[in-house]
Amino acid sequence: MPDYTKPLPVITQDSEPYWSAAKAHEFRMQRCTDCGKFRFPPTHACWYCLSTNTEWAELSGRGTVWSFTVMHQPYYKGFTDELPYAVLVVELEEGPRIASNIVDCKREDIRIGMPVQVVFDDVTPEVTLPKFRPV
């Protein structure tokens, strides 16, 4: 694999299970086992009820494009060659909204409300990024 020059996520105590699951190509997020709500990004306790009883529930991986932008400004060296590139916010079937990139889709073809499905991009031997493709 050629050197990967894009920024990598900072993995913390709270987010480590998210990234471990992604590495195993599983899409998991925290769900509070007291109030039942999903939350993202990962936190120690549930922000709805402050319970620390949490399971890492597997998600369907399905969602829709809530909105997106196309980045034209070079901010990160590793993305310069891809300018302009799209960043989307996906509303997951289970509720949370997350930022990601789209694969297998030209940026002119992205539409709000478009159904998407998670895919896993093994960007380094240690890190896998959940991304989305059109369904």
Binding site: K6, P7, L8, P9, V10, T12, D14, S15, P41, P42, W66, S67, F68, T69, V70, M71, H72, Q73, Y75, Y76, G78, F79, E82, P84, Y85, V87, V89, R97, A99, S100, N101, I112, G113, V123, V127, L129, K131
Partner: protein, 385 residues
């Protein structure tokens, strides 16, 4: 201090803005650093109201995005010995709340004359918004997602979708404020007229936002002084009263809640209009935190200037320009005058009430309003009496 039923602070003419001072220009300050700019603006603010260093018994230091400034060093280099001094960091979105706190210090009797000192050399220190380390739990940079502007772009695209609106109607904001900037000798873009063609031909930064939808990054400093209203009348300039102030926290960027912050804005609106005993129809000019042009749409709707989804139509036809029904950011604002995180907009709001704006004066301006952005939606109302 009277707490209205709905908990905005109604200052009931207890607190007035008595002095304002800016650096002698905005733009690039190679000749001095952040503290030097603060000294220049402070001297101008004292000259504006006739108070002296010894009169200042409260000092709030708002650190800009450039070189950090410590509140204790600031007190030393300004030669003041205030009873109350503290730093007020984290820039723009806390500007409105900082005015509320300062006014509370005066209204509660803690201080007679509070100076708010804000200095920022973002330009010479080459501050960038975006591309930096985004903290311990950073996920977004891995997807190339960064900068407050990109977040505003995502929200604006969603807005266009939900209300089936035309993106190019947004041009009215940047173009309208640029026209006002042409009448302002301090405005960085005074001599850069902006036509609709210029606007649509400018590059995208984060689509659908283009260059002129973004604020400027520059150097400058602002000082304003709040005093007890009963003493304000004896100072050099007519007092500008802070009628009411309110804010609402609990909303966070990068989490894409529904509704374009309608709920926090409408909560603040209810409180601040109630406490000031005015309605949007009474507002002679609106001063808003224009980091990015689309924010105005959410303010106008949340504060009830127009209905939901109607703001892009509301701003057309010169309505928000000088001579229109609701002139906004008559100095040119962050988009065309200077980006000092709300403080220079405060200066213009005060000057409008004083009648000091010359060719860009709103005739007989009696009541003006400031609206600051969510998270920490905030607003305060200034009046002539």
């Amino acid at each position: 201090m009277v707490q209205a039923d709905d908990r905005a602070i109604a200052f009931k003419n207890q607190v007035a803005v008595v002095g304002i001072g800016t650096t002698n220009h905005y733009g690039t300050y190679n000749e001095m650093g952040a503290y030097g700019m603060a000294q220049e603006a402070f001297k101008n603010a004292l000259d504006d109201c006739g108070l002296t260093q010894d009169d200042i018994d409260g000092l709030i230091v708002g650190t800009g995005t450039g070189e950090p400034t410590a509140y204790d060093d600031m007190a030393r280099i300004l030669g003041v010995h205030p009873r109350v001094a503290y730093p007020y960091s984290n820039g723009g979105r806390l500007f409105g709340p900082s005015v509320m706190l300062m006014a509370s210090l005066v209204a509660s009797g803690q201080c007679d004359n509070v100076a708010f000192v804000y200095t920022n050399n973002a330009r010479t220190t080459r501050v960038k918004f975006g591309g930096q380390d985004e903290g311990a739990s950073a996920i977004h940079p891995a997807y190339g997602f960064t900068s407050p502007g990109a977040n505003a772009a995502i929200e604006f695209r969603r807005y266009l979708h939900e209300f089936n609106q035309d993106r190019e109607k947004l041009a009215a904001i940047a173009i309208g404020q640029r026209k006002s900037a042409a009448l302002n000798d301090m405005a960085i873009f005074r001599d850069r007229p902006l036509t609709f063609e210029d606007y649509v031909n400018a590059r995208y930064i984060a689509e659908p936002l283009r260059l002129n939808d973004y604020c400027i990054i520059n150097d400058g400093a602002i000082v304003f002084i709040l005093s007890r209203a009963d003493r304000a009348k004896s100072l050099k300039k007519p007092p500008v009263y802070i009628r009411a102030a309110s804010q609402q926290g609990g909303w966070s960027i990068y989490h894409w809640q529904d509704g374009f912050e309608y709920e926090p804005y409408s909560r603040v609106a209810k409180r601040v209009y109630g406490a000031a005993d005015v309605t949007p129809k009474d507002v002679d000019a609106l001063f808003w935190y224009d980091a990015f042009a689309p924010f105005l749409l959410y303010y106008l709707e949340g504060f009830g200037f127009c209905g939901r989804g109607e703001a892009l139509d509301f701003i057309q036809g010169g309505r928000i320009e000088l001579g229109g029904e609701l002139p906004v950011n008559t100095s040119g604002g962050h988009l065309s005058e200077t980006y000092l995180q709300g403080r220079a907009i405060m200066v213009e709001a005060v000057r409008q009430i004083r009648g000091e704006c010359g060719p860009r004066q709103v005739p007989n301006a009696q009541i003006v309003q400031f609206i600051g952005t969510a998270p920490n939606a905030s607003s305060f109302i200034l009046s002539k009496d």
